[in-house]
Symmetry: C2
Subunit: 213 residues, 2 copies
Amino acid sequence: MEGSTVSGSQDGQIASPRRTPSQQRSRERVERMLAAASALIAEQGSDAMRMGEVAKRAGVSIGSLYQFLPDKRAIIWALAERYTAESQACIAAALAEVSDAEGLCRAFSELVDTYYALFLAEPVMRDIWSGTQADKALRDLELADSRANAEFLTAVLKKLRPSADPAALETTAFLIWQMGEATMRLAISVERQEGDRLVAAYKRMALRELVDR
Amino acid sequence: MEGSTVSGSQDGQIASPRRTPSQQRSRERVERMLAAASALIAEQGSDAMRMGEVAKRAGVSIGSLYQFLPDKRAIIWALAERYTAESQACIAAALAEVSDAEGLCRAFSELVDTYYALFLAEPVMRDIWSGTQADKALRDLELADSRANAEFLTAVLKKLRPSADPAALETTAFLIWQMGEATMRLAISVERQEGDRLVAAYKRMALRELVDR
DNA sequence: CCGCAAACGTGAGTAATCCTCATATTTGCA
DNA sequence: TGCAAATATGAGGATTACTCACGTTTGCGG
């Protein structure tokens, strides 16, 4: 099942950098490069982002860019990884202290709202996760992230329904999480009003599945 | 051009062909081109599909290719449109004669299974819908298709629950349909066994939402 | 059957873009 | 201070989607 070539894009691996910045100077330069890339993505989308433009805006040569970010996908990946790390911490915190059904309701509802607001407000995140499907490395990152987040949900569910089949709870949590992300992507690509309705409908469906049985 | 799936231009419009084939000969050639493209996508994915390779395999010159298929996205789009037209007819037929909750259950369940089998069996469809998010024209096609399919579901729901708010039913049907497509994409990108479980879980969730209230 | 305009076919060439590499410069340290 | 390792550079290699000027075939009015 491995060669599936669904994406077709190369081997799907993120090439390791030729060089890992070890000096203060180069670390700062990498920061500038990523900031420049982020700005360009926000303006035009990652597809239209040109490597030369990133270098120019960061005030470095094209060679320097490739010294630490070995290819275009690596830039996107580096940005994506920051978002996931950041949001994962929030999610863990929000779900950690849930101990009953009502608490889950509140926490989950808030989480969905926060995520939706984030998607609406962050053009870079939006762009990156939209293109996720086309790039195997990004898809894998999102999958791993989603699994990690779903695990927090699973933990809560296991606590609330100790008699249920653990494997089924895992599947449910993972599916609900993935559907949440799909709903977000959908919601931001339609009219705002319809997007709001879709998110609300998702929330209702997910909650019903989470608390009731 | 690593991350670019099918794209290249900013507006999401599909360029109209320079020329619409009007002779028998050229119509057959276009068929050969699309068949070649389809085969290449199945082998390597649409991202790795090279225009020169398509022309070569179809036994035409690169110039002829561009005479009727004005750019790379147009090829993908043409293939995608055939799939949607075909599947939409199936869906309409499957849902047309549903008249009670149990019938809906059966029809929907069968539909999901059919769709899943199709996704598993058709590497081209799989590839195209995976890359959907990255290309505006394709996203629009999928959205339109999804809306059309959801409408069949909406019609059934309105018949079964005449007292419910029609707008809410529409939102629910559309969301369920979109989630189904998201689930398919997810299911084919993980281990077969987990994919099966996810599809089953989706089916259960969707049915609960559809028949019960 | 002829003439001819429109449709069709061709492939070398263009432009855009990702990425490499030989070379120059700077830094940290013995 | 001297020197190896790290860093910086940008012209150029390689790839690829797409164009265009010109040759060929088809259908059709007379």
